[in-house]
Amino acid sequence: MSDAPDVAQALARMAEQLRPLLDRRPLMIGIHTGGAWVANRLHGLLGLTDPLGTLDISFYRDDFTRIGMNPQVRASHLPVSVEDRHVILVDDVLHTGRTIRAALNEIFDYGRPASVTLAVLVDREGRELPISAQVVGLPMKLASGQHVKLAGPDSLALTLQEAGG
């Protein structure tokens, strides 16, 4: 199955922006679950040889004492050491920035990377932390009640959801 046209174009744009980084032998890490799907596509498009890492940030969330443990937690899997490597961190949607804060903390519990580049499929407004993406597939303007969600993993497609709808 092929991805939705807007997703395919966004992925191609991301791959172009990431290509100049290839001579640094970057290590790619995707955030569960949507970010891992996007990372998987980019990993193929860029022909990276090191295996893809995946991160579940449930143990690093800042709202744990308020909403509790995510029952769908999966194991993080970083098959290659991040120590001194240039990491490309991939997520599907960048919104508040809290997920990325948690992911950065988790990565540093595995080692000290040389650098971290943030690549996101969708960049929307609503940041609550000083975090920005270096690589963006699709900038989106959304109202605060609207949410964009990535469906996958076979065929990636973006859907728009209204809050309370």
Binding site: F59, Y60, F64, T65, R66, I67, P71, H77, D109, G111
Partner: protein, 324 residues
């Protein structure tokens, strides 16, 4: 005893007191979380920040090295501050004194008590009297229950055998005095284990096992025939009053797990033991250290399961009762 005490009004797990009342889904959810903690234990930095700033008190009225240590490691890997308190049970034989101890520790802003006591129901008693934001885990109460041990045993079975639907599990040894066995049988039944057997001399076999749907054997070879999992129990010398067994040598001959008896089980059967082992009494060293033994993985799994239980019951704690 009520199992309901461990759930809040929305059905969320608040305390971990007993396997009774836990659904199959909840047990598997705990296993799934534990699976993720296994990978944390294999990292360079083995800590996650979930319980940062929380205080966990290991309140042990009955001595235990292994259980206390694994709870301590579990809490520390969740970034909690841990205090170990060994209290002699004799000085708190009256209920009031026990609760006084707990109230004092509460005044020090303890968030979670891990309680072990030689009297059944102690963890319940404490859970009934603490404010809503304080959590209790039962780390063994008398001969009644040892639910986290049952969780780590069944988690170990799931890791090695996948599912429970086609499994035959034999529990061997001192069933009379074993809180481990009581909780384990509950958990195995809830998980849909196809056959649970108990193997013991008549003097160590409690009555009423038929109502739990389990088969009892006094002949070990017969009981081990075709099983997938063997759980050996420790002969509880300190809990035995009077002579339940004729002699240790005879017990070993009849009920000690040797390579010879192990051959009655399926070739890929796994051997478990909650520890500490009496080598040469209930289990032969050749089996304990053999290829089918998963006794050491049980210890590692125990840390991950206790981390999962702690994080599950502590999650959302600021919402349910703690003053903002």
């Amino acid at each position: 005893m009520t199992g309901n005490l461990q759930f809040d009004s929305q059905g969320r797990l608040r305390h971990f007191l007993t396997i009774d009342g836990l659904s199959r889904e909840t047990i598997h959810q705990i296993f799934d979380i534990a699976e993720s903690f296994i990978s944390v234990g294999e990292r360079e930095i083995k800590k996650v920040p979930l319980l940062r700033g929380k205080t966990v008190v290991n309140l042990f009225f009955e001595s235990s090295t292994r259980t206390r240590t694994t709870f301590e490691i579990a809490a520390k890997r969740l970034s909690a501050d841990v205090i170990n308190l060994a209290v002699s049970a004799s000085s708190t034989s009256k209920g009031e004194t026990l609760l006084d101890t707990v109230r004092n520790l509460e005044a020090m802003h303890t968030d979670l008590f891990v309680v072990r006591h030689n009297q059944s129901g102690t963890a319940y008693l404490i859970a009934e009297h603490v404010p809503p934001h304080v959590r209790i885990i039962n780390a063994g109460d008398g001969a009644h229950a040892h639910p986290t041990q049952a969780m780590l045993d069944t988690f170990t079975i799931r890791r090695h055998k996948g599912s429970f639907e086609h499994l035959k599990v034999a529990i061997v040894g001192d069933l009379m005095h074993s809180r481990v066995a009581r909780s384990l049988i509950r958990a195995l039944n809830t998980l849909g284990t196809s056959e649970v057997r108990v193997i013991a001399p008549l003097t160590l076999l409690p009555t009423g096992h038929e109502s739990l749907g389990i088969k009892a054997y006094t002949d070990m070879r017969e009981g081990l025939e075709g099983v997938d999992v063997i759980v050996m129990l420790r002969l509880q010398r300190e809990r035995m009053r009077g002579a339940h067994i004729p002699s240790e040598q005879e017990y070993f001959n009849l009920y000690g797990l040797t390579l010879d008896k192990l051959a009655c089980a399926k070739p890929d059967a796994i051997v478990m033991h909650p520890g500490p082992m009496n080598r040469g009494l209930e289990i032969d060293s050749a089996v304990a250290d053999g290829l089918q033994s998963v006794i050491l993985p049980q210890v590692t799994n125990g840390i991950a399961v206790r981390m999962a239980i702690m994080s599950l019951i502590m999650g959302g704690s600021s919402e349910s009762g703690r003053p903002a």
